[in-house]
């Protein structure tokens, strides 16, 4: 499990900036006009998670289509597509959540 997590961390770096910036743009767009910590913001969460899921499906589809070897690299580590998707999604969500909290606290 540790080597799988180590792999995910390094693998995430290859597309993390793209997903992070896209997530951040999505968050700002979806919650525009809402007050920090308001009910409106909470209501926007399911839509934002759907956006994030679609973004990750796009990333995995891109990797599988244009870099099939990378998926086989994961398989060689015993990581299935589903696990790869889940772990990168979770990591991206955690990175985003941290950044969003900082943004909502001091940015706006």
């Amino acid at each position: 499990m540790i080597r799988q997590l180590r792999f995910i961390l390094i693998f995430y770096r290859s597309f993390g900036l793209f997903t992070f910036l896209s997530s951040f743009w999505g968050w700002v767009y979806i919650t525009q006009g809402a007050e920090a910590g308001s009910y409106q913001m909470l209501k926007a969460m399911p839509l934002f998670i759907c956006f994030l899921l679609l973004l990750h499906l796009l990333v995995i589809w891109y990797q599988m289509t244009f870099y099939p070897g990378r998926i086989l690299f994961c398989y060689n580590l015993g990581i299935s597509r589903r696990r790869l998707f889940a772990l990168t999604f979770l990591l991206d969500f955690l990175v985003f959540l941290t950044a969003a909290i900082v943004w909502e606290t001091i940015g706006r």
Partner: protein
């Protein structure tokens, strides 16, 4: 091999394989057996389904039907079993951003053994895989998995892109590795393959495997090589 767990598995068998795309049969009558301590060659003309068969054995490709067994026990997705099997495909494996040393560490590669056969690799260790030449990347990826703890290794075209002198050393290393592994090897450079193989299977149209007894003679009979 570091502290990575080694799995005790002695026999890999694949049969009842059925793969077709849009009604076109690719594989249909296959039996492959690889035992620990053996190098088994898988030969066949282009398009006979060698890579597909390897991927089906590995578990990354699902056909209409397949049966892959380890010591007689059916395994649906062999790659998910830690330390059981690894597959070196023809295409580039390593994602950008990984150094050679990181890859070796991830897969529990026996770095000392790699350096014993390929001392020039020492200076590649801190390099990112993408900064190496095509041949160097290929060699790193082969060694990364071949010298890992997996009980079975599937090598698809390992000798392509490699210089003859490197092929010679790689052949010697593959032979040294078979002591505690089963290795399935496929390459169109058939000479080095059959030279180090204990058994040879030939894939013939449409998707049948044949275990060859008199390898060179039968390869010529089935049109894989020219009769001399």
């Amino acid at each position: 091999m570091g502290n990575h767990r080694k799995i005790k598995a002695a026999v890999l068998e694949a049969d009842s394989i059925w793969l077709e795309y849009g009604g076109r049969k690719i594989l249909q009558n296959i039996y492959i057996k690889v035992e620990k301590g053996e190098i088994v060659a898988l030969l066949g003309r282009n398009g006979t389904g060698k890579s597909s068969l390897m991927q089906m054995i590995f578990g990354s490709l699902r056909g209409q039907h397949q049966s892959v067994r380890i010591d007689g026990k059916y395994i649906r997705y062999p790659f998910k079993t830690k330390g059981l099997i690894c597959y070196v495909p023809q295409e580039q494996l390593t994602p950008s951003g990984f150094t050679v040393a990181q890859c070796f560490q991830l897969f529990g590669t026996d770095q000392d053994l790699a350096l014993a056969y390929f001392p020039e690799m020492k200076k590649w260790l801190p390099e990112k895989s993408r900064d190496l030449s095509g041949g160097q990347q290929r060699l790193v990826e082969i060694l990364m998995l071949l010298l890992g703890p997996s009980a079975f290794v599937l090598l698809d075209e390992p000798f392509s892109q490699l210089a003859p002198v490197v092929v010679e050393r790689l052949k010697a290393l593959i032979v040294a590795c078979k002591e505690n592994k089963g290795i399935l090897l496929s390459d169109h450079q058939y000479e080095p393959v059959i030279e180090i193989s204990d058994h040879t299977y030939l894939l013939v149209p449409v998707g049948r495997s044949m275990l060859l007894k008199e390898v060179r003679k039968e390869l010529a009979i089935y049109g894989y090589i020219r009769e001399t």
